[in-house]
Each structure stands twice: as structure tokens, then as C-alpha cells.
């Protein structure tokens, strides 16, 4: 028999979001509180399976009595908190933050919600000029995944996924300082020479396409990548007995990418090298 632990129900705290009174569980963040009443706050570096890094500042909201805007993803609610998620002050700051990012890196492959948010805030990166845009060669070091740091917004998600939040491999970290900082292995050695175990969890959490399956990269290069023609098959990894859920992205009857659902209790979206990349046998002619 499985005993489920009995938890004390969290006490509720009364707060105000955009003029609406709500009662939310103690310990919730502003972002979680907003979600309970379907108030959408844009995020970029935040991912529910990782510790908030507070780096992008896209999710900032106005809190009554606070001198500065506060990040919704990490700030816990306090009793009586009055939150404005879309005041003119907030919108102005979000617009500039998106512009600063987009004037620095290539954001063409960000997800749909981010694209919509950028349109909603009239983001115009060109007004900042392009002096600080960096040009670095795409790192293609193996057949599994590529690293295109011109698309990297330094959200730290890959570092967290490689490190303490999932894989505990610590093969990459932020190197350098300021705008020239980058994600790197030690002395920027190639991944196959590094501690990387090719779990691909960094690829799984990357929000901008800076990290990408080599298969997807090649198909995009060839102009054959077409998400509308892909279908996703959910299955369970057969390599071991853990039971990780896999989502096989299939185009033209070939697997082109493997992911795992973030809300899956076993994986939290994370896989190992076998589940993530070990699918070629499926489409082997000899099978």
C-alpha cells in the first residue's frame, strides 16, 4: 500500500491583482497567484521546473509601495499585496526590456507567446541600432545538438538544467562578464571533450533555439523544417524501467526531435541521452 503524506493545507492570503481581490495560498509567487485567476504575465527566463533566475526581467510587475518593479516569477506574495500587471509603467519597461534583448540577439525562434507579447508592446529593436549585436559561429561539434549563441538571451536555463536543477553534470556555466558573457565549457573546449553527458536537457529548456537538435538545425538549413506537418506521438521510453514519457516529433514519418512533457511526474521534462537522442534504431532499415 502506498502511503501518501498528509500535508497541512496552506493558509490563504488576500491580495489584489489588477483591482481584483483574490485569496491565494501562502508561499505562492506573484506569477502563480496571477495564474489562479488567469491573469497572464509574460515570462522568458522562467520555467516552472527550474529555480527562477530573475535574469530577463520581462515578468516585472508593479507592487504598491515598492520603489522598483518586482519580478513576478520569484517574489512571494505577502498579505494585502496590491499588484498591477499591466500598468503603463510596467508596459513601458517590458517594451524596453524586449527591445534591449532583440537588439542584441536573434529572437526569431522564440515561442508564440513571446512573439505575441513583443507585438503587444510595440517592440521596435531597430531604434537602438545594432552596434552591440554579436556574431559568433554556430558550434556544430557532433550529430546530437548544436549551439548558436547569437540566439542566446542568457536566461541561465541551460546552466540550471545541466547543474543543480536537473542533471548535476555542471558541464557549462556562464563565463565572462557583462554583455560579452556567454555560456561556455571550461576554456570553451568542445562539448565532446567536456563533462557533457548529452542528456540534452539544456536543449529541452532553451527558449530561443540557441540550443537545437542537429537534425532540426540541418532541416532548417535545408528549408525542410515544417512544424505544421509534424505530429507528436507520446510514448514511454523503452531503454530502462524508469518509465520516462517521450514525445516523438515526427515529420515525413521520421523522428526529428524528442521532448518530454514538463508536467510529467517522472521526468519534469528532463531525459537522458538514450531517451533524448537514442531513436535512430526506430528508423533503421534493418529493424
Amino acid at each position: 500500500m502506498i502511503e501518501s503524506p498528509v500535508e497541512m493545507p496552506a493558509s490563504l492570503i488576500d491580495i489584489t491583482i489588477d483591482g481584483r481581490s483574490v485569496a491565494v495560498s501562502e508561499g505562492a509567487t506573484i506569477l502563480e497567484a496571477c495564474a489562479t485567476i488567469d491573469v497572464e504575465v509574460p515570462t522568458l527566463c522562467y520555467l516552472e521546473t527550474l529555480t527562477p533566475f530573475n535574469s530577463c526581467r520581462v515578468c516585472v510587475v508593479e507592487v504598491e509601495g515598492s520603489r522598483n518593479l518586482v519580478p513576478a516569477c520569484s517574489r512571494e506574495i505577502t498579505p494585502g499585496m496590491e499588484i498591477s500587471t499591466e500598468s503603463a509603467r510596467v508596459q513601458g519597461i517590458r517594451k524596453t526590456v524586449y527591445e534591449l534583448l532583440a537588439s542584441t540577439v536573434d529572437m526569431s525562434l522564440v515561442d508564440e507567446p513571446t512573439k505575441q507579447a513583443m507585438a503587444r508592446y510595440n517592440v521596435d529593436p531597430d531604434r537602438w541600432g545594432t552596434w552591440a549585436r554579436q556574431h559568433r559561429d554556430v558550434k556544430i561539434e557532433d550529430d546530437l545538438y548544436i549551439r548558436d549563441y547569437d540566439k542566446c538571451i542568457m536566461c541561465y536555463r541551460c546552466v540550471a538544467a545541466c547543474g543543480p536543477d536537473a542533471q548535476n553534470t555542471f558541464a557549462i556555466d556562464v563565463a565572462g562578464r557583462g554583455l560579452s558573457s556567454t555560456i561556455a565549457t571550461e576554456f570553451d573546449i568542445a562539448l565532446p571533450d567536456s563533462a557533457c553527458v548529452y542528456c540534452g536537457n539544456c536543449v529541452g529548456v532553451c527558449p530561443t533555439g540557441a540550443l537545437m537538435f542537429t537534425s532540426e538545425f540541418r532541416m532548417r538549413e535545408a528549408g525542410t523544417w515544417n512544424e505544421t506537418e509534424q505530429h507528436v506521438t507520446t510514448t514511454i521510453c523503452s531503454f530502462c524501467g524508469i518509465g520516462c514519457n517521450l514525445e516523438l516529433h515526427v515529420q515525413d514519418n521520421r523522428i526529428v526531435k524528442v521532448t518530454s512533457p514538463l508536467d510529467h511526474s517522472v521526468t519534469s521534462g528532463h531525459l537522458c541521452i538514450k531517451g533524448r537522442f537514442g531513436y535512430s534504431y526506430v528508423q533503421s532499415e534493418d529493424a
Binding site: 527562477p52 533566475f53 530573475n54 535574469s55 530577463c56 526581467r57 520581462v58 516585472v60 522598483n68 518593479l69 519580478p71 520569484s74 517574489r75 509603467r89 513601458g92 519597461i93 524596453t96 526590456v97 534591449l100 534583448l101 537588439s103 542584441t104 531604434r127 537602438w128 541600432g129 552596434w131 552591440a132 538571451i153 542568457m154 547543474g163 548535476n168 553534470t169 555542471f170 558541464a171 557549462i172 556555466d173 556562464v174 563565463a175 565572462g176 562578464r177 557583462g178 554583455l179 560579452s180 558573457s181 561556455a184 565549457t185 571550461e186 576554456f187 567536456s194 563533462a195
Partner: protein, 590 residues
């Protein structure tokens, strides 16, 4: 040689697992590694990097790997930490690297001519000549000298030379054993600091040293806390936070706690903490000991900026003397209280003066700030309640303990209590540190410092994170309340005077460049915004674009930096630029 340096910090390896060359008896029986052991020694990462840098002049891939094995920490993380700091090199550098200040105070004093001469004779900044190179550096905290060099010497002690000439730079890069050569700083008015022999505990005691600690031990923690609260002392590092609130908050916490002296003085135009540490190292140790006793901490840290070799060595030997004499250790001054202090050296990163970045730096992580809350008084160093005070703030503590909080509060004004040190530099007759009771005006201070050299152009109050004022504001009392009402910050007590010969476009551009170079890169507003600010100022200066548009961009940057940056660095990065625009120093329509 690299191994020797690292083993000096981390001890010799006792197993093949941790980098020993030969198998030892324990190897068959003991398992190594694991998350806990990796965390226990991670705080030694920066000291280990320092050791290699100091002995060899740079950290090679092999040295980094050995450090990683020994701490242990992953090589990628160790690389991330090493590349965070200007004074740690991960590419081969010559054995002598002379960092020459080209920041605003030295610019006002004419350093650009010296650097032009230096460039002609030794090549551009970063060019290797023989076994040496020179590099441009942000403010080295020797502002009253008007020029300064900090020289990293592989295999020897780092040295400071201020003021410095081109001939001296060339000499340092070639002589066998370079030595520090710094002219004594002009007197700190109102104190007896200069009577103390900094190498002698006895001399310190003859001048009344350690009587405050005796009194503190007799009073007990509660009375000290009451006195600190009654004194109205507010932080002298820039944030002006009431010390009493901080001290009580930490004292009320339970379990392991820490006290930290923030001696990472790096605000351009600020040098008072260096002067205090160089002239009275024992005084700082006594003050931090009292702080530890009052809040219930048994470990203190002094985090000193890496560019202060003289202050570092004096503090280091003073700590040894204090320990030997029983003023630090298991039973401090036979008062039944255990307390010791570790001296930690920064490595060239302005951001590490931000208290949460300072924690990360000590803990062996990249010196990036943390999102607050939680505040340091709840969760600071190693996640424990931590009291952080600046050097000058702490130096006020012995007097408060000896004379009582009320006596201290009688000095100064309504909201600004006690004496205050101001750093006068730039185009004044006698640049230096001046101590005055709060309430003195800018004019008073400039008069003390021998008046203005030439005609007044502008005055920078508070440092790069501060604001410019003009002649009209000379009678503004430099107190927390008056400067706040005037919408400028008192900052760290910088009064940097520029005469009309100074090119203010250059000065403002240098401030913008400073923030772009010192931004840690963690949050977007600061990482990209500081660079955009620098670029926009360049466009504004070169012309050809619409001034109103550029000013509008600068205003948007000001908003995003102030509103959305994680820490004080980003939040203050546009202050001086905006004040320069508001008083018409830059951005006037052509």
C-alpha cells in the same frame, strides 16, 4: 609550481581521488566526492585562483583542472568564476601587468596626457613588451594622487604606485623586485589616525585601541545594540541604511551568523576606506569584533578589494598580531566570547561591493547579485543571517561604544548623525580625505581642500552612481536629507571637482563605459542597457543624429535601469548621465 600554489590554499591532496600523484592507504577504503563535500570547500575557489594568479601570473587549463579536482568544483564552474574577475587571467599574460587608472578623478587631474605618452612608448593598452604589459583600469581608489598604478607581479607581491609617471611604469615592468611607492595621504582631519604605527598593536593600544572592546564586553550585547540604535548611525557605503535596524535584525536571529566588513571600495572617486585601513587596521578589526559580539556571530570576514595591496598586507599582519595577543580566537580578550576574522581578497569586480554579490564571491560563485528579499539579515552569507557594514560605518562603532549613542547623535544634523568622511579629488588645491560633522556644505569642503584649481565646471557628488551639481548648489549641505530632497545621492562621500578645462563629454562617457564594463551581465536591463547607454552617448557626441531622439533613448534606458535591474549597480547606472543632461553638461542642442 601551479600545484604548489594551489596546495598552499587547499592543503596537500590526501588521495588519488583528489589529485595526489601516488596512491595512499586510505584510497582503498574511502569514497570521495558528493554534493556536500563539494559545497564545503567551494569558498576556497577564489583564494585558490588568486594563489595561482599570484605565483604564475595566469591560470592555465591544467591549473584550473587541478583546482577543480581539489576543491572540488566542476571545471566549467571554476572557469565561470575565474573569467568573472579582471585580476584573474585565463590567457597567458606577462609576469608584470600594470593597471593604470584612466577613470574620472585621474582624468580631471590630467591622466590622459600621461596615457598618451605611455601609449607612444609602450604601445596600446594590452600590448606585451618583454615580460610586462600595461592596461587601462577603472578607478584604483588613489584619487587624491591624480594618477595611480596597481601592478600584478607574478611570483612576488603586487604593488601600488601613486602618483605614477611613465618612467616609473617602465621601471616597474623591468626591475627585479618592484616595491610599492605611495605618497602618504593628506591628513584625515579630526582624528589621530596618523599617530598609530600600523604594524604595532602596542602603538594602537597606546592611542586608546581596544578600550572600546573592553567596554563592549562589560556592557553586553543588548546595551551595545541600544547605543548603535541611539547613535542614529547610517551606512557610509552609499545606501545610508540605519545601522541599528540591521544590527538588531541580525541579533534577533538564531543559529550561525556572520558579520562582514565590506572593504571592496570601488566607487570611482572613493578612497576613504583605503585610507582608513592603511592608517588604522587594528581599529577596523576591533570594530568588527564588537559587531560580532553584539549580534552573536563567531566568524567575521573582511572582503577587501584586490587592488589595495598595502591595506591588505597591513590588515593581514594586524590580524596575526590581534590573534597572538588574544584579541581574536576562542576567548576574545578573556571575555568568554569566541570570534575570528578571515581576510578575503576581491579580484577586480565593482559589483562585488554589492552585498549579495559579495556573498556569492566569498562562497566561490560568480559575483552576481541575488534578488532581494530575502535580505542579508535573514539569509546572507552561506544562507545565514549576516550583518554587512562598510569600513567607514564600522570605524564609527568604537566611538559609539565608548561615548554612548547619544554623544554620537549629538554630532551632525537631524537625520545625518556623526562625523562623515568626504573624498575630495579632481581640481582642488589639496585633494584628500576630510572628516567633518554632517551638515558641512560642498563649499565648506572645497574650502577645506584648498579651493578650486581654475574655474568651476561641475562637481560630481557620490561617485559614478551619484550626480553632478553646479555652482548654484555649492551651499547644499551634504547630508542624507538635504541631498535626498535635492534628488541626488550622497553615495560614498565623493566630492569630485572638475574645472572648466575638463572635457565633460569625456567624463560622462567614462562613467557610462565604467558601468558597461562592470555590469555582471545577469539581468537584461543592466547587461544590454549599460552598453546601449554608452553607445547612445557616443552618437550624441559625434552628432549626425537627432539629439531629441537620442535623449529620449537615454531616458528610456534610465527608466528600465532604475525600475527593473536586480541590484544597485544597474539601478544607479544612469543617475550621473541623467544629472549631466539635466544641468546641461551634455546633450545641449548644437
Amino acid at each position: 609550481m601551479e600545484r604548489d600554489a594551489i596546495d598552499r590554499v587547499l592543503g596537500p591532496p590526501d588521495s588519488l581521488w583528489s589529485g595526489a600523484v601516488e596512491r595512499s592507504a586510505v584510497d582503498d577504503h574511502v569514497a570521495y566526492g558528493g554534493f556536500r563535500s563539494s559545497q564545503e570547500r567551494r569558498h576556497l575557489l577564489l583564494p585558490a585562483l588568486h594563489a595561482v594568479q599570484s605565483d604564475v601570473g595566469w591560470v592555465s587549463h591544467g591549473a584550473l583542472n587541478y583546482i577543480s579536482e581539489r576543491v572540488p568544483v566542476s571545471p566549467a564552474e571554476a572557469f565561470g568564476v575565474a573569467t568573472f574577475y579582471d585580476l584573474i587571467a585565463t590567457e597567458e599574460r606577462p609576469a608584470r601587468v600594470a593597471h593604470i587608472c584612466d577613470d574620472i578623478a585621474c582624468k580631471a587631474a590630467g591622466i590622459d596626457d600621461v596615457l598618451a605618452d605611455l601609449t607612444e612608448r609602450l604601445g596600446e593598452s594590452g600590448t606585451t613588451i618583454g615580460s610586462g604589459m600595461w592596461r587601462r583600469s577603472p578607478c584604483l581608489g588613489q584619487c587624491e594622487k591624480g594618477s595611480a598604478a596597481f601592478v600584478q607581479v607574478a611570483g612576488g607581491d603586487d604593488v601600488s604606485v601613486a602618483p605614477v609617471s611613465v618612467d616609473q611604469v617602465i621601471e616597474i615592468l623591468s626591475v627585479d623586485e618592484p616595491t610599492s611607492h605611495v605618497t602618504p595621504t593628506s591628513p584625515v582631519i579630526g582624528t589621530s589616525l596618523l599617530n598609530i604605527d600600523t604594524a604595532s598593536l602596542e602603538s594602537f593600544q597606546n592611542e586608546g585601541g581596544y578600550t572600546a572592546l573592553s567596554r563592549a564586553l562589560a556592557l553586553g550585547p543588548d546595551r551595545i545594540l541600544d547605543d548603535i540604535t541611539a547613535s542614529g548611525l547610517r551606512g557610509r557605503g552609499g545606501a545610508a541604511f540605519p545601522a541599528g535596524i540591521k544590527w538588531n535584525a541580525v541579533a534577533n536571529e538564531t543559529g550561525t551568523k556572520y558579520v562582514i566588513c565590506n572593504a571592496d571600495e570601488s566607487e570611482p572617486g572613493t578612497f576613504k576606506d583605503r585610507v582608513l585601513m592603511e592608517s588604522n587596521p587594528f581599529g577596523l578589526i576591533e570594530a568588527l569584533t564588537i559587531a560580532g559580539y553584539a549580534v552573536g556571530a563567531s566568524t567575521g570576514y573582511i572582503y577587501i578589494r584586490g587592488e589595495y595591496p598595502i591595506a591588505h598586507s597591513r590588515l593581514s599582519s594586524a590580524l596575526d598580531s590581534a590573534r597572538q595577543a588574544g584579541f581574536l580566537g576562542a576567548d576574545v580578550a578573556q571575555g568568554g566570547f569566541a570570534f575570528d576574522i578571515e581576510l578575503r581578497k576581491g579580484a577586480g569586480a565593482y559589483i562585488c561591493g554589492e552585498e549579495t554579490a559579495l556573498f556569492n564571491s566569498i562562497e566561490g560563485f560568480r559575483g552576481e547579485p541575488r534578488q532581494k528579499p530575502p535580505f542579508p539579515t535573514q539569509a546572507g552569507l552561506f544562507g545565514r543571517p549576516t550583518l554587512v557594514n562598510n569600513v567607514e560605518s564600522l570605524m564609527n562603532v568604537p566611538a559609539i561604544v565608548l561615548n554612548g549613542g547619544e554623544a554620537f547623535a549629538a554630532i551632525g544634523t537631524e537625520e545625518s548623525k556623526g562625523p562623515k568622511l568626504f573624498c575630495l579629488s579632481g581640481n582642488v588645491g589639496r585633494p584628500g580625505v576630510y572628516e567633518v560633522p554632517f551638515g558641512a556644505t560642498t563649499r565648506d569642503l572645497i574650502d577645506l581642500a584648498g579651493g578650486i584649481d581654475g574655474d568651476l565646471g561641475a562637481i560630481l557628488i557620490g561617485g559614478a552612481a551619484g550626480a553632478f551639481i553646479t555652482e548654484n548648489d555649492l551651499d547644499l549641505p551634504l547630508t542624507f536629507e538635504d541631498t535626498r530632497a535635492h534628488n541626488i545621492g550622497l553615495g560614498s562621500g565623493v566630492v569630485l571637482v572638475f574645472n572648466t578645462d575638463t572635457n565633460m563629454d569625456d567624463i560622462v562617457a567614462r562613467i557610462a563605459e565604467f558601468f558597461a564594463e562592470e555590469s555582471c551581465g545577469l539581468c537584461v536591463p543592466c547587461r544590454a542597457g549599460t552598453v546601449r547607454q554608452k553607445e547612445t552617448l557616443i552618437r550624441l557626441r559625434t552628432g549626425g543624429t537627432d539629439t531629441a531622439t537620442e535623449l529620449n533613448l537615454l531616458s528610456d534606458l534610465d527608466h528600465v535601469l532604475r525600475e527593473a535591474s536586480i541590484c544597485g549597480l544597474g539601478q544607479a547606472a544612469s543617475a550621473a548621465v541623467q544629472s549631466a543632461i539635466s544641468i546641461g553638461l551634455i546633450g545641449e542642442p548644437a
